[in-house]
C-alpha cells in the first residue's frame, strides 16, 4: 500500500462567478521514504494540489476526489481531524521564508508551541527538542537563537528554521513548495543539500515542488510534470530527463539554459573604437527607510564601479540579491547616482543639456523586471508604447504615431489588435514584449535589461531571450543584461561582470569567465547553479557554504568575501583587494589578492565537463504560445 495515494483530485476555484479548474484528475502515489518532484510552470496547479491535500485551500476553493494517507481518507476532513494529520504526518515548507514565520513571536516560542500542542510536551521538553531540531538543520548556536525573532535572520536561515519546524513532529511526508525560489543560488544549493540529508536521517518521504528542473534533478527519485492542471508525464527522474514523452516536457527541459553545454556562438564585437557607454567609479547610496534603526542612515549599494560598453555588444551583469546590480542599472542612466560619472559617447551624462541630453535619453532605454508592474495600469497599450515618442517631442499629440506603434508591436511579436486594451489583460510574457516595444520607440542604441526575464516561466523566458537576440542583430543594439541567473546571462552575453556587495569582483569575456573563473566567488556561484540533468547533478560535489552574505552596512574590513572564502589568508583580512587586470590576460579583471596564484580550476559539471558533448543551443527552441 502506498504511503500517500491521490486519486482523481480536482480543485476548482470560484472567482466572481467564473470557475477556474486548477487541478484536473490528479493521480499520485508516494511510497515511504520516496522523493517525488512535481514540476510545471506557473498556473500548472502543482501548489494548489498540495494545498488541497493539506486542507489549506483558500475559502473559494473546492477539492473533490480522494487522498488516502496510509489507507485513510484525509481529503476535506474538518479542521479538527486535520490537526491530527497536519504537522504530525504531513508537513509543508512554503516558498517565502520571509513571510512564513510569525514576526511577532520568537523562534523558540513558535517552534515549541507546535510540540506543546501536537506532542503534549511541557515547555522545557519542547525547548530541548527544538534545539535538537535546529542543530539538525545546521543552524549555528541554536540554543542562543531560541529567543531571537525571525527578522533577525537572513532568508536562508529562516528557511532552515521553517524546515526544522516542519520536521518537529517527525512527519511521514514533507512537502516542500518551491522552498528555494526566493533564495540566492548559493543558499539554494545548501538548502537542497540539507533537504537531501534530512530525508535520509529522518526517513521522510519528500514531495518537492518546483518550476526549476535543475532543483528537482538532484534530489528526486521520481518526477511528475504538470501542465494546466493535468499531469502530462510521470516516471523515474532519469527517464523523464533522458527521454521525455510529451512535447511539453521536452520544451520545458530544452528551454532551460544549461551551464554544462556550450554557449551559443556570439558574433565578434569590435572593441577597438570608443566605448558607447562608460561608467567611472559609480557610487549609489540609499537612505535607510527608518533612520536610527540598526545601522547607519544610509547604505552604499554601489561602491565605485567602472564599466564600459561597446556598440553591438552585450554586457552581462550577475550577482546575488543585494549586490547592487539594479542600482547600477539605474545609475547608468544617471538616476540615483551619488558620485562618479557616466559618459555617453565620450561626454558625461550629467553635463549634457538641451538637444544632446534629449539625444542621449532617446538612445539609452530600459526594460524592467516586473512585466505588469512596469506598465501604467491606467494607460492603454497604445498610450504606453507611444509615450517615449511624445516625451521626446517626436510627435505632437496622442495617436499621431499609430503606424510606428504598430510597427514596434509587430517587431516584438504582438499585433495591432491590442492597441486599445489595458496591461492587465495580457500575460507576463506579452507585457514584457510591450515593455520592449516601448523601449524601442525612440530607436535606441543601448538597452538596459534589469532582470528582464527573471519573473517569467522558462519557455516564455526563452522566447524573450531570442527576441532580444534578434533585435540586437537587426538594430545593432548594445545591451546591458542584468540577472541573477548565471546560465541565462551566459546565453546572451559577450562579456560578463560579476558583482558582490556593490563591487565588481570579476570581469571578463563570457567563455573564459565561465570555464576558468579567477575569483573564488565566481566559482562558488557557478558551482552552486543547479543543472537540469539528474545524472550530472548527482555526481557534482558542492562544498557547503558556511557564511551567508553579510549585511551591506556591516562589512568586515578587508576583502568582503573572505568570510565565505575557502582560500582566505591574512592578506585578505588586512586589505581590500583592488580590481586589477589579470596578469597574462588583458581582457580580464579580478578583485582578489590571490587571483594570479590560486588554482581554482574549472567548475565541476559532472563528468561531461564544460567542453563536453553538448547538443543544440537552447536559443533556437521555438517558444510555445504564451
Amino acid at each position: 500500500m502506498s504511503l500517500l495515494r491521490v486519486d482523481d483530485l480536482n480543485v476548482r476555484f470560484e472567482t466572481d462567478g467564473a470557475e477556474v479548474h486548477a487541478v484536473r484528475n490528479l493521480n499520485l502515489r508516494l511510497e515511504p521514504q520516496e522523493a517525488v518532484g512535481i514540476v510545471g510552470e506557473s498556473g500548472s496547479g502543482k501548489s494548489q494540489a498540495m494545498a488541497a491535500i493539506m486542507g489549506l485551500l483558500s475559502e473559494n476553493g473546492r477539492a473533490t476526489g480522494s487522498v488516502l494517507l496510509d489507507g485513510e481518507e484525509i481529503l476535506n476532513l474538518d479542521e479538527k481531524a486535520l490537526r491530527g494529520v497536519r504537522g504530525r504526518r504531513l508537513s509543508i515548507v512554503f516558498q517565502d521564508p520571509m513571510t512564513s514565520l510569525n514576526p511577532y513571536l520568537t523562534i523558540g516560542q513558535q517552534l515549541s508551541r507546535v510540540l506543546i500542542e501536537q506532542r503534549s510536551m511541557d515547555e522545557a521538553m519542547a525547548r530541548n527538542e527544538v534545539v535538537r531540531m535546529l542543530d539538525a538543520v545546521k543552524l549555528p548556536a541554536a540554543r542562543r537563537r531560541l529567543s531571537s525573532y525571525p527578522h533577525e535572520y537572513s532568508g536562508g536561515m529562516r528557511q532552515r528554521v521553517m524546515i526544522a519546524a516542519a520536521l518537529l513532529c517527525r512527519p511521514d511526508i514533507l512537502i516542500a513548495d518551491e522552498p528555494t525560489t526566493a533564495l540566492d543560488v548559493t543558499v539554494q544549493a545548501s538548502i537542497l543539500q540539507l533537504l537531501g540529508e534530512l530525508r535520509e536521517s529522518f526517513r521522510t518521504a519528500l514531495i518537492l515542488i518546483s518550476h526549476d528542473l535543475g532543483v528537482v534533478a538532484g534530489v528526486c527519485d521520481r518526477l511528475v510534470v504538470m501542465d494546466q492542471g493535468r499531469v502530462i508525464e510521470e516516471g523515474p527522474t532519469e527517464t523523464v530527463f533522458a527521454n521525455p514523452q510529451t512535447g511539453c516536457t521536452q520544451a520545458l527541459i530544452e528551454a532551460v539554459p544549461r551551464l554544462d553545454r556550450p554557449a551559443p556562438k556570439r558574433r565578434d564585437v569590435d572593441r577597438s573604437g570608443e566605448p558607447l557607454l562608460q561608467a567611472d567609479k559609480l557610487m549609489v547610496r540609499y537612505p535607510l527607510p527608518r533612520p536610527g534603526w540598526r545601522g547607519p542612515r544610509r547604505f552604499t549599494a554601489v561602491r565605485g564601479v567602472d564599466l564600459d560598453l561597446y556598440p553591438g555588444e552585450t554586457l552581462g551583469v550577475v550577482g546575488e540579491s543585494g549586490c547592487g546590480k539594479s542600482s547600477l542599472a539605474r545609475a547608468l542612466l544617471d538616476i540615483g547616482r551619488d558620485s562618479g560619472e557616466v559618459q555617453y559617447l565620450g561626454r558625461p551624462l550629467s553635463g549634457l543639456r538641451g538637444e544632446a541630453l534629449r539625444r542621449a535619453r532617446r538612445d539609452l532605454t530600459f526594460v524592467f523586471q516586473d512585466p505588469l508592474g512596469s506598465l501604467d495600469p491606467r494607460m492603454t497599450i497604445e498610450q504606453t508604447v507611444e509615450e517615449p515618442a511624445i516625451v521626446h517631442g517626436l510627435v505632437g499629440e496622442r495617436g499621431a504615431c499609430r503606424s510606428r506603434v504598430i510597427e514596434m508591436l509587430e517587431r516584438v511579436g504582438l499585433d495591432a489588435s491590442m492597441l486599445n486594451r489595458y496591461p492587465h489583460e495580457f500575460s507576463g510574457g506579452q507585457c514584457q514584449r510591450i515593455g520592449i516595444a516601448r523601449a524601442l520607440m525612440t530607436q535606441p542604441r543601448v538597452l538596459i535589461c534589469d532582470e528582464a526575464v527573471s519573473a517569467l516561466d522558462v519557455t516564455v523566458q526563452a522566447g524573450i531571450l531570442s527576441l532580444l537576440d534578434g533585435l540586437q542583430r537587426e538594430l545593432s543594439l548594445a545591451i546591458v543584461f542584468i540577472a541573477h541567473d548565471l546560465a541565462v546571462v551566459r546565453e546572451v552575453s559577450d562579456r560578463v561582470v560579476v558583482m558582490y556587495l556593490g563591487r565588481v569582483v570579476e570581469e571578463g569575456p563570457v567563455h573564459a569567465l565561465y570555464t576558468a573563473p579567477r575569483h573564488p566567488y565566481t566559482r562558488a556561484l557557478l558551482q552552486a547553479a543547479p543543472i537540469p540533468d539528474p545524472v550530472i547533478e548527482r555526481r557534482r560535489d558542492r562544498p557547503a557554504t558556511q557564511f551567508e552574505i553579510p549585511a551591506p552596512w556591516n562589512l568586515p574590513p578587508g576583502c568582503p568575501y573572505r568570510q565565505r572564502c575557502a582560500h582566505a589568508t591574512d592578506t585578505c583580512a588586512a586589505s581590500l583587494p583592488e580590481l586589477h587586470v589579470l596578469d597574462g590576460d588583458a581582457a580580464r579583471r579580478v578583485a582578489c589578492h590571490h587571483a594570479e596564484t590560486l588554482a581554482l580550476g574549472a567548475p565541476d559539471y559532472g563528468d561531461l565537463g564544460p567542453s563536453g558533448v553538448g547538443t543544440g543551443a537552447p536559443l533556437t527552441v521555438s517558444s510555445p504560445p504564451e
Binding site: L82, S91, F94, R113, Y149
Partner: protein, 304 residues
C-alpha cells in the same frame, strides 16, 4: 526605550508651545473681553479689573506671565469665578469627566474588541453582517442624536433611567452608553478588519499547516498584530474621552470638563479656556507617546 521616551517628550515641547501661542493669540485677538457684559461696567472699574489681572500689559508680557505661571503649576485665576483658580475648577471637573470616560473606555474598547473578534471569526455570516451594519450606524449617528433619543425612550417614555445628573450608579448608564457607543462601533469595525487581514497572512497559513489549534492561531498568533491599528486609534480617543464630551455633558447636565470648556468659551474666561487647552494637548501628547511605546511591545521589529 528611555532615551526614546525622553527625546519624544523633548520634541513635544515645540508642539505644546505652538498650541499655547495659537490659543493665546486667538483668545486675545477676539473682539471683546472677559468683563464685557450686557450691563456695561463703568470705564474706571473695567480699567481697574484689567490692571488687576494684568490685561493692560502688552501681548508678549501677558503670554510670558502665563507661561511662567504654567511652569510653576499655576493655571492662573478664573475671570468668571473670582473665588476659585483655574486649577481648582479643573480639579473639580476632571474627576467627573475622567470617571465617565474610563467607564466608557472599558465598555467601548472592551465590547468593541470582543464584537470585532466575533465578527471576524464568523466572517460573512449573517451575524457578521448584522454586527457590522449596527456598528456602521453607531459610527454615523452622532452622540447628540443618540443621547436625546435614548433619553426620550428610556427616561421620558419608559421611565427606567434618570435623565440627567450623576447622583446614583443608574445615572451613569445613559451617558456612559452615549459616550461609549461611537468608540465601541469604531473599535469593532477596526478590530474585525485587521483580524480578518491578519488571519489571511502567510504565517497564519504556515501555523495552520503545523496543525495548531484555532484558539492558538487567533489568540497567540494573530491577536498582537491585529491589535496594532486598534491601539493607534485608542490613543487619541482616550485623551478625548477622558476630557469629557462637550455634547454629552451638556445633554445630561454633567459638571465635567466639556461643559466647563463651553462655559469658559462663552464667558470669555481666557485663563480657564487656556488651562483646558493645555490639559487636553498634554494628554494627547502623552497618549500618542504611549501608543508609540506600545508598538514596540506589540511588534518586536520596532526598536527605539
Amino acid at each position: 526605550m528611555l532615551r526614546y521616551t525622553v527625546s519624544r517628550l523633548i520634541s513635544a515641547v515645540p508642539t505644546l508651545a505652538l498650541v499655547l501661542v495659537l490659543a493665546f493669540s486667538l483668545v486675545h485677538a477676539a473682539p471683546g473681553g472677559p468683563f464685557d457684559t450686557e450691563r456695561a461696567l463703568p470705564p474706571e472699574t473695567e480699567a481697574r479689573l484689567n490692571e488687576a489681572y494684568g490685561l493692560d500689559q502688552p501681548f508678549w508680557v501677558q503670554f510670558g506671565n502665563y507661561v511662567g505661571g504654567l511652569l510653576r503649576g499655576d493655571f492662573g485665576p478664573s475671570y468668571r469665578y473670582p473665588q476659585s483658580t483655574v486649577g481648582e475648577l479643573i480639579a473639580d471637573a476632571f474627576p467627573v469627566s475622567a470617571t465617565l470616560g474610563l467607564l466608557a473606555l472599558v465598555v467601548g474598547a472592551g465590547l468593541g474588541i470582543a464584537i470585532g473578534i466575533v465578527a471576524a471569526l464568523r466572517q460573512n455570516s449573517v451575524l457578521d453582517h448584522v454586527l457590522m451594519s449596527v456598528s456602521m450606524t453607531g459610527i454615523s449617528v452622532p452622540g447628540f442624536v443618540i443621547a436625546p433619543l435614548a433619553v426620550l425612550l428610556f427616561a421620558v417614555t419608559l421611565r427606567w433611567l434618570p435623565a440627567s445628573g450623576l447622583q446614583t450608579p443608574a445615572h451613569y448608564v445613559l451617558p456612559v452608553f452615549a459616550l461609549a457607543l461611537p468608540m465601541l462601533a469604531y473599535v469593532a469595525r477596526l478590530m474585525r478588519a485587521s483580524l480578518v487581514e491578519t488571519l489571511k497572512s502567510q504565517f497564519i497559513r504556515t501555523a495552520r499547516s503545523q496543525g495548531l489549534s484555532s484558539r492558538t492561531l487567533v489568540f497567540r498568533y494573530a491577536m498582537k498584530p491585529a491589535l496594532i491599528p486598534v491601539v493607534s486609534y485608542l490613543g487619541p480617543a482616550i485623551a478625548a474621552v477622558l476630557t469629557g464630551s462637550v455634547v454629552i455633558e451638556q445633554i445630561f447636565n454633567i459638571p465635567g470638563i466639556g461643559r466647563l470648556f463651553i462655559q469658559g468659551a462663552l464667558n470669555r474666561d481666557y485663563t480657564l479656556v487656556m488651562g483646558l487647552v493645555v490639559l487636553y494637548s498634554s494628554l494627547l501628547i502623552v497618549m500618542n507617546l504611549i501608543v508609540d511605546l506600545l508598538y514596540g511591545v506589540l511588534d518586536p521589529r520596532v526598536r527605539y
